[in-house]
Amino acid sequence: MNKVISAKEAVKLIKDGCTIMISGFAGVKKPEVLIDLMVKNNIKNLTVIANDAAIPGKGIGRLISHRCVKKLIASHIGLNPEAGRQMNAGELEVELIPQGTLAERIRCAGAGLGGFFTPTGIGTSVEEGKQKFIVEGKEYLLELPLKADVAIIKGSVVDTLGNVFYKGTTQNFSLVMAMAADLVIVEAEKIVKPGELKPEHVMTPSVFVDYIVGAECNGN
């Protein structure tokens, strides 16, 4: 079971108009090789689910600048003025979701749950269109699962079965996104053989990963 394929093969699996989750947080490492090829292939009409709009010229920021994105579902776009400009000009639809709710909605989909009650957003516009429930005297909003066709994720060390280890803060949304997408592609900084990652050090179990591309295979 070797899940390693070329970045070119992998990017062909990402279709125009699909809903795609992209791991990463602000300017931290993202699957840049895959994003690079998506831009080159001129992929269109994506619905992107990500923590934020990144920074211009990096990660999701490039997809936005290249007009690959029709809709962005994120918690924050403040570090990317181009995203704000497109949003204000009506060129990019943006749905803003509290960060914890975003992470939990994605996990919810990946974990086979149908929804959850969160206190986040009570008394704010986040309430709009949502059911409220009271549990033990406290108000909660019902939030629903959020899934995707594809997830692309950046891994620091990945074995050929798909087990992933993340360095530092590069983990962020990776586990929940890998759980919640039909097709999951990990872009690996380093690919190793099964057994080289200790079973206790694996952060995303291989079952959640479909394909692996090497970060250095750019253009292969």
């Binding site: 996990r107 086979g112 749950l113 079973p199 694996v202 179990p205 291989s206 079952v207």
Partner: protein, 215 residues
Amino acid sequence: MGIEAKEIIARRVARELKDGYVVNLGIGLPSLVANYIPEGMSVMLQSENGILGMGAICEAGEEDENVINAGNQFVYVQKGACFFDSATSFAMIRGGHIHLTVLGALQVDEQGNIASHIIPGSMAPGMGGAMDLLAGAKKVIVAMLHTAKGKPKILKRCTLPLTAKGKVDMIVTEKAVISVTPEGLVLDEIMPGSSLEDILQHTEADLIIRDELVK
């Protein structure tokens, strides 16, 4: 004879495995399926206490006291295994990431209902992870002896409290291989040593019999 029957069942279930499958095997008879994974086929066993890539039961003296399976046996792990916590394990199970689960049962019925966790008044060990496996696994095979003390276990309608409603896809016993379909139970195979008559005699449920099985 009991042991032989269980081996026959486990061998037949193993033929349902496919390359790349992630599989959770229940305690007891289902766990025997691990012994018959076809050579060269890549199948990963998941154990709900937190292993993906579980290996065989440990030889005496080789136990790692930190590594058990869900049945409290010391096990090896394969190269490329990983450990995780219970919340992640059941996210995996309930979230549809397990291709196949093989479970035992007390009763199964025409609607794919299964009763496996309680006999009111006499046995109530708890459902453990079975209800989550039944709710979440992509495919459910029940592996069990065809009868209990001579009484049919494949019924028109389960009489014991259900462990899940309409979740069974396939039943493998020492006598028969049966599919659960919207039309009812379909007899797909007669196991060696059994016969159509034998099966019909020991099955309470109505069976739709494949043409090729009726000569």
